[in-house]
Symmetry: C2
Subunit: 352 residues, 2 copies
């Protein structure tokens, strides 16, 4: 297995130096300056072009949907995959504005319908097992799901992608994500479980109970390391994860191994990023947080990752929409970095 490369700190310093020469007070472009330098270090050039970006939407179903933890029926996962294929979903609209490639990947939709045209059929299983009753995935299923994401990142990198986005679709996947965030950050469900697509108070109470019980079941099943008190991350992910979440984690790990930055999305993406970093800690250096989700537990995941999101628009849709919405900010940052006049070029005096 390849190791994860380090960003180039020398190139980053050269980019920082260029920022000081541009016709503006030093630091006055705030986080746009940091963004330009972040990309310089990772694209390994002091004045990077706008990165070629690809979006993958990973879809999978969750056995735990049968516990009444979502406001929508399980059939919506497959219906939304068809909507992605037809170009009618929010992520399609945002990707069309940006002109980047999008691919929809069925990692585990529970449907008998044929795979819609244009959707990659990489189904590991028709939905996970109920994570409350037992492990959501076998070890082999987890490996296969991680591999789906790894393969997507590999292909994108070979096509020349320089920035990757993973989105999600999966009814009940905020329940699985909540379990992962709790287990991987050792946080209580009360701080992590939210309303997802919009469950009512009774649904929220039920969801919190399910997460609490599933965490207890997993703790009993897999035990913890005697020294660290931690549970082995692959076991946590197999017991509590989702097929699409595992694919996203594999996608993030493989992107990092290939030195391709990833732009994280919301709550599900945050859980997948925690899973990726649990398995491959150096992957974190290649992650950029796009937005903070309205799902409160997302902030817990971001904090554990040490990431500060660019925007907060109170979104909670997934699909990669929060990430896609921030692409113009990245484009602006890099275009300012490359196109603004310097003090010398413009004949403008510097600070006194």
């Amino acid at each position: 297995m390849k190791t994860v490369p380090q960003p180039d700190k020398q190139v980053e310093a050269a980019a920082r130096d260029r920022q000081l020469q541009l016709t503006k007070p030093p630091g006055s472009l705030g986080r746009l300056e940091d963004l330009a330098c972040w990309f310089a270090a990772r694209l390994r050039t002091p004045i990077p072009d706008i990165p070629r970006t690809e979006v993958f939407v990973f879809a999978g179903d969750h056995g735990v949907a049968a516990r009444g933890v979502s406001a929508f029926p399980q059939s919506v996962t497959g219906q939304m995959v068809a909507n992605f294929a037809a170009g009618g979903a929010a992520i399609n609209v945002l990707v069309a504005l940006e002109g980047c490639r999008i691919e929809v990947v069925d990692v585990g939709v529970a449907t008998d319908a044929p795979t819609p045209k244009g959707v990659r059929n990489a189904r590991v299983r028709a939905g996970t097992r109920d994570l409350l009753g037992g492990p959501a995935m076998t070890d082999a299923e987890l490996t296969a799901a991680l591999g789906v994401g790894e393969e997507c990142a590999r292909e994108a990198s070979q096509r020349g992608a320089q920035l990757l986005i993973a989105g999600d679709m999966g009814i009940a996947n905020t329940t699985s994500a909540a379990c992962l965030i709790c287990a991987l950050t050792q946080t209580t469900p009360e701080r992590v479980v939210g309303r997802g697509t919009g469950v009512d108070d009774a649904g929220l109470a039920r969801k919190t109970e399910v997460v609490t019980a599933a965490l207890a079941r997993t703790r009993r099943a897999i035990g913890a390391d005697a020294d660290s008190g931690k549970q082995p991350p692959a076991q946590i992910i197999a017991h509590l994860g989702g097929l699409e979440i595992a694919a996203m984690a594999g996608f993030y790990m493989e992107a990092a191994r290939r030195g391709v930055p990833v732009l994280l999305d919301g709550y599900i993406s945050g859980a997948a990023a925690l899973a990726a970093v649990a398995l491959e800690p150096a992957a974190r250096e290649w992650m950029l947080a796009s937005h903070r989700s309205a799902e409160g537990g997302h902030a817990v995941a971001l904090q554990a990752l040490g990431l500060n999101p660019l925007i907060d628009m109170s979104m909670r849709l997934g699909e990669g929409t929060g990430a896609a919405l921030t692409l113009p900010i990245i484009r602006a940052a890099l275009t300012l970095h490359s196109k603004m006049a310097t003090f010398a070029q413009a004949g403008v005096a510097g600070a006194t």
Copy 2:
């Protein structure tokens, strides 16, 4: 003088209804949904097109620059106007990405150099007087500066502009803006005065002293209404404002009278918006806040206006850059609103 029209609440309700039909959980696009409805009410159509946007950068100098309140020499105002004309400044880069019209307006630059080609010469005076020594502007100069902005908004509206941005350039204008924010919101200088383009600790202390003394001088000079305890806003603006800030205020007022929404920028824009609302309270309904500036007092201005900015990227450059950076978010919100499939179109089940 025309009165300010009201946004259309019925059209807003129709837009809100459409949002509920789109293939996503209700509310899951967060503030993007609110943005689409905000524009629907003001552009008076339930599914608005992307608004035709124009940017005006108003430039003016400040007599108070002689007090050592800025990190840059006064000559930079004129040099930056030349940089705008040559297309090398940050706002030029952002406007080019958006493809919208930009015009640079000299309302009061203190320079002997000829007006650069492409810059509108509407100079009222070669910089304001020192606001610490006496009124920055006469009443006639204030009226003239307001009129410059009004004329720009009138012309843009007649060209069919549907969204207007005003940016600023003026060395020492954060001192004038701080005075206006303090006087118009009755807040102490300590909460409002910041480092502007980057003064050091001694500069910040000097700037705070200047603002405190100028506020005291103005209070003595113009008195306050016996009933409300408030000072007449036009007098506050003449005593403490800047020519470019007054032009921005006039621009905002005239846009509102013509029913054209404005996208506010940062600290200077916030002071100008407060001035506009002080003179024409209904103008507030036509204002959208783009970003929160790193200049701490901006939050004071936004709170007094009752506006919640879309993003916070720790920017403090002015020129209209914060506003221009949020145009893609508005475009995304309106495109999602118009292009996403409905549940019925996509054959997706709604919430159970």
